[in-house]
Symmetry: D2
Subunit: 354 residues, 4 copies
């Protein structure tokens, strides 16, 4: 279970990194939406391996094939099926994993839970799954074109941008392989990742996401609050360890008299420590949040692993992996955010001021 | 929509702070569970207003009345209905809110979304709703008595415990009104909250939660990962702005070679930066996470508010409110964690190594 | 599990016939709906025991108490909690059932499944549960006042009206205790039920339901077809054994050239063997269906029952029961139909020609 | 919405009859189930067009391709993706339908609801969708091999078997193209269908389904009763107009003293008018139900149709269609029944006598 996200705009996915294909079904996409297929592909290309020297050199064309639900360029209101075929599998690279469990990987937990696993390339636990999310996110973005979603890398290891998002030029995000809109910092991050990669090591980082031009009213309290669904979506991404929105953890140190966002007469607020959400419902101000990624567990170093029969052995990491996932995770964060926003946009059509 | 949490152990709730009663229905509670009603009440008492000088002095007996689903002391497998009657409503205290929107409250967003709201005491947005969660959590805890859940206050404003949870004595949590297991720090926090209260101000804080003795295998990837559901549940609590588990945000600064949790031969790990969860599934190690609470928005000071007709006026905050919510939120965090764990425990009965 | 119906207009219920109360929560009711509470009570009165000589003589005031979600006469968009207290329980009447299983009752299956049951008055299996449905149905009707729902008794045992619904005067439905709009036939049915009752026996019957003024477009294929959800709802009523809509079982004997509903130029059809639904979506014509009720299993005769320890003994039926449920089931059929229609009306706001 | 069936064993589908492929995702299939792929294909072959002279002569190989979730012959507990490519599309056959609505088809309602439709071959409304159900049903059957599901044609038009299922030899079902186990009647039905086909007309019929060796306890009251879910599933099949189980509509004419199923000492019953289900839960006796199919709407005759711009014109039906769907619907009925039974089997693992 658990292979679906969303209630009205619902994505269900399948696929292992070394199976024939990954894919998904979008149920609940409204009809009559013009779909720009090139845009979908361009979003996939942003996530694709092999884009730059600092990401995995695996070669995948990652071409999505839509099988239903789009007719003469528009959605029909029926379910949208799609697949992305796997091409560049080097399954032999993973033979050494058949009987071993890597530290901080899901190998062990899947094996214990299911008693059975496709060990090749991580199987279902591989972040290759996120290719499905990017497809659905690219459809979602086309349903709510007025809402602007920009994610970017705000830290890699200890290196971080120390200015608020309001001072960031989103146009610079795609100007460098790190997807950090501070060009100087981006260069430092790139150097650092290159160095980490040479060591066969990995490093974590933080992605900041900003959502602008959001209508007032998205979110369904009590248990489907807008920020709670965004948080859950982000925590679904491989390697994510934390989520905060608005003031986040730093709010805990503040007094109410400092933290409260005083109103302007038009209902906007002078500050926005709330992060654009009050009581689980968007208030029309910018939504912003930060997503914490741990370093990737797969090292291209020697490391102690656990064997099926309960021994610890040393094993050399192999395969093609990212030294730092945050650059490639930027479009993934955006895709999930877009899906959540569409879901609540559809829900709001039902309940808004009936 | 959105008034339900859980898939197999499912709580649906209702209630406004100044209505006749709050309550809920638990659907999916297994049969033949012996229910200790005194325990349920004792959990409610931990959440109750008026327990100490540093919390709101509202008086509510908060007695839960079970209406169905429990027969001769045991659950019957049918839905469990319960109500908690409201007693100490001083609705007149809220007349001034009828036509105004307080900063950083949900007044404005509810009004915009629904075009209609029960303004008395915050209505549905009041944290009084959490009384329902504590009831369901107290039932949940009795389904999984082997799993130990301990939450505690780890920071209030700038004051924080700087030792890991492993060095904390959980027996001291209830020894002081702050629910901080470091007794010296607890005294400082209490003084600080008392001072803040005198100023009519409020302050934020952090709750740490530790879950021990968890079986391997709880969690349903891809989109119902154990930590993602915990995160979503915690982000549902009023005033929560962030969630992190295991290494959390500090993991982002680490290298993989530092962060990876090496195995012991028995499948346990030497470190636990993963926080007891790999790939969304519990690995048998302790689960631990931190929840960030902003300062309560309601101040007993003068503050600018927005009126219905778009003017900014100064208004004196009234009513009985907590200067710092984290002490009373401790049982709420535990209750939600218990519900999430039961939900996955039931799910695991279906899918575990079939 | 299973105590909820609906996806956007969702009712979750609880309650045993001899517990303190029954009740429910409606999640997803739109805001700003004016609620006529007297109408809700009048619908409950139609379902109430003791209305006439041919129904059970149990005395229950069946007063609904709304606890939340309605403020100053209008819905607020938050969840609506309600309870109906039990009053006239004669639990001792059921002591003989503690250790026995009645034929064609759910005693045996509940006991086997849950290993535990509230045997008093049938517990959760009692049709007293339907009081919750009538409350929710009465709210639902007020959301879609333009849609007209009329159910009536079309057969009792072998006695049946042999004219199509188009020739029936719905104004006569409430003119007699059987709720059969053919007054002459109603008198025969009443006599027959009276006779059956004297014998301590029971009898089945059929309810026909007609829904008029339905907008085109309600229903969500593939698996949430309008007629499939209506069918499922009706099959949820105690004692129901069958459901057919439009031509129903008689369609099976027809040729396509006879059965097809030819169009008029305005999109209406000349005949309506389709029963107002094409491909699972309403086509704007009248929806009509028939619901088959078996005779009530509880007889006030001697009957062989099974004991807990596997013996067959003779037992005299006791308690206050209906000799024929169809008259009291009429408002229940309508209530479920109203809930299904509202659910699809809300869904259609999302997906209709976006 | 509405493209999913099941709660724990959940099938979500996509596909139009003239798109690239149909397919689905099974979420919630337990791990470690050995899957016989030849059996899956053999079930598809039972549903396939072109099997005999009395069904549509369209040629489709209907080969299923599994893309995930099965590894080394066993399920892994992850989602199972599959596709069936379309091959024998003659889309030009449907050009005449672009601007017209056929009587008793979903053309009109889809167009009104979605404002957009793939008119080729019925698009999403085509019964070709059921190919997905047969795949999922064939997986489901392998999870519960002990439960025996047999469906057969019991009537075609006025021709019907007049003996109870207990007297039927299920081994004869596949002995003839009609799938009627009464060989003499089967011959008559075949002749009749052949004649109807020559006339370019169609005819309805009834399928009876018998489920044997069902464990006690399947079904989740109140709103997920076993028979209600079976009913809903059957009502999802194209052309179905009615569903009855156990005594069905004939129960309405009976007295309780005739209808009640008296117990044997072992908990079985002497009669089984209940149809193996009490209170929505299986009681261990045979489950049996009947499904009513109307005649197919597409005639290969001239017929009046409605045009997009509101005119009635005469149109000659074209394409390759079944004169009577019941023979090919037999494996579809079984597939849906298998899915429903697996869903409740998994649910029962959670709740059965905890």
């Amino acid at each position: 279970m658990g292979n679906s996200i969303g209630k009205l705009f619902k994505l269900t996915t399948f696929g292992e990194s070394h199976g024939l294909a990954l894919g998904g079904i979008i149920d609940g996409c409204p009809s009559n939406i013009k779909i720009d297929l090139d845009f979908v592909q361009s979003e996939l290309d942003r996530r694709k391996p092999g884009q730059s020297k600092i990401v995995t050199q695996r070669k995948e064309s990652d071409e999505v094939k839509f099988l239903s639900g789009i007719f003469e360029g528009k959605t029909t209101g029926t379910s949208i099926g799609f697949i992305i075929e796997n091409e560049n599998q080097k399954s032999n690279d993973y033979d050494h994993l058949k009987d071993t469990f890597r530290p901080s990987h899901a190998d062990f937990t899947y094996d214990q839970k299911y008693g059975n696993r496709d060990y090749r390339g991580g199987g279902r636990t591989s972040a290759r799954e996120t290719v499905n999310w990017v497809v659905a996110g690219a459809i979602a973005k086309q349903i709510i074109p007025e809402i602007k979603i920009n994610a970017y890398v705000s830290s890699v290891g200890e290196l971080e941008i120390d200015k608020p998002y309001q001072e960031v030029d989103f146009n610079l995000i795609e100007s460098n392989p790190v997807r950090c809109p501070d060009v100087e910092m981006a260069a430092k991050m790139e150097d650092y990742i290159t160095k980490i990669k040479k060591d066969g090591d990995t490093v974590g980082g933080i992605i900041t996401c900003v959502i602008q031009n959001v209508p007032i009213g998205l979110g369904e309290p009590i248990f489907d609050k807008l920020h709670a669904q965004l948080g859950k979506a982000m925590l679904s991404i491989n390697a994510v360890k934390g989520f905060e929105f608005g003031g986040g953890f730093s709010s805990t140190k503040m007094k109410g008299s400092e933290h409260n966002d005083l109103f302007n007469e038009d209902g906007t607020t002078k500050t926005n420590l709330s992060g654009g959400i009050q009581g689980g419902i968007s208030n029309g101000m910018d939504i912003y949040f930060r997503v914490a990624f741990k370093p990737v567990a797969t090292l291209l170093q020697k490391q102690d692993v656990l064997t099926n029969d309960g021994k610890i052995i040393e094993q050399q990491g192999k395969g093609r992996h990212d030294p730092c996932v945050v650059p490639r995770a930027v479009p993934i964060v955006e895709a999930l955010a877009a899906m959540v926003l569409v879901d609540f946009t559809l829900m709001d059509k039902v309940y808004r001021n009936y």
